[in-house]
């Protein structure tokens, strides 16, 4: 008894799960109800993706350009600092030589001994 009921249930279940082709009128019915319209509207949503990509590309390009500009400015600042160091070194050298020249001039005036 129990086995017959189980067989019956299994048969109903198999029928319920069996794959059947959709009736030809189903598409029309769904179109009428607007279910498929929503699906067709989906590509319109997808059209935002290129904009997002474009925005992301612009943002990346801006970051890269900013980075390059910053690097260029930093490089320029370092070059300027190096240039200043060169002039400082040459000024100190010139100052030392000026002092020597002044002393030598004083020696010549005073007639003191110096090797030159």
């Amino acid at each position: 008894m129990g086995t017959e009921n189980e067989d019956e249930f299994e048969r109903e279940l198999r029928q319920a799960f069996a794959r059947r082709p959709a009736p030809p009128s189903l598409k029309r019915k769904l179109m009428e109800r607007g279910v498929l319209k929503m699906k067709r509207a989906a590509p319109a949503e997808r059209s935002f993706v290129p904009w997002q990509r474009l925005a992301a590309s612009v943002a990346i390009a801006a970051v890269l350009a900013g980075g390059i500009e910053w690097h260029s400015l930093d490089q320029r600042r370092k070059e300027e600092a190096a240039r200043e160091q060169v002039f400082l070194a040459l000024r100190i050298t010139s100052h030392a030589l000026d002092q020597m020249n002044a002393r030598l001039a004083a020696h010549h005036r005073g007639g003191q001994d110096s090797q030159y």
């Binding site: 370092k78 070059e79 190096a82 240039r83 400082l88 040459l90 030589l97 020597m100 030159y116």
Partner: protein, 198 residues
């Protein structure tokens, strides 16, 4: 495998070390200089390696006459080393300290261009040049004042005509005079050499 890698590493290190040593011929700051710096009230230290000079030369374009003249001078140099110590009072360094600094360049390859001493005050100036085949390949200046000590070391081929061009730049007039002195010294050396050969 390890036996093969180790000799390779040693070879790479052996090849790299001389190259590194050549790239920076400037001397490291000596212990004496560190002592002087600790006693000084004002210290100016400038160390410019060949790379740094090349870096600075990049910004010195031909538009500015002074920059162009300086660029010509520094482009071929191996380095510039400047130390300037100013002291609050006299006697912060001894004559022995000065001798120690001077002795580093009292070698055969360096010739004395100017040697000036003032006995009363202890002031002195030494200018030494490294002449190689009649060309200046280095210059050492040691200027001693009672309250100031200046060390300048310029390494590399120094073109005297380029040094002379700096005479017009504000604060660098004395460099042009050195150019004249070095040329005279070079002539003297050439005469001595010719006299010695005869």
């Amino acid at each position: 495998m390890q036996n093969r890698i180790l000799p390779l590493i040693f070879t790479a290190v052996a090849l790299t070390l001389p190259a590194l040593a050549q790239s920076d011929p400037l001397p490291p700051t000596s212990a004496l200089e560190k002592q002087l710096a600790s006693r000084a009230s004002d210290v100016t230290e400038v160390t410019l390696s060949k790379n740094m000079l090349a870096f600075a030369a990049k910004i010195m374009n031909g538009k500015d006459k002074d920059d162009a003249a300086t660029r010509q001078l520094i482009e071929g140099l191996d380095g510039i080393y400047v130390r300037d110590y100013e002291f609050d009072k006299a006697g912060e360094f001894s004559a022995e300290d000065v001798d120690q600094l001077r002795k580093q360049f009292e070698t055969a390859e360096w010739s004395s261009l100017v040697k000036e001493r003032e006995r009363k005050t202890g002031e002195s100036t030494d200018i030494m040049v490294k002449l190689v085949n009649g060309e200046s390949h280095g210059m050492f200046i040691l200027d001693v004042e009672p309250k100031e000590l200046t060390i300048v070391l310029i390494l590399g081929p120094i073109k005297m005509e380029d040094l002379g061009k700096l005479k017009g730049i504000g604060g660098l007039s004395a460099l042009g005079d050195v150019a004249i002195n070095v040329k005279e010294k070079d002539k003297e050396k050439s005469k001595d050499k010719k006299g010695g050969d005869q």
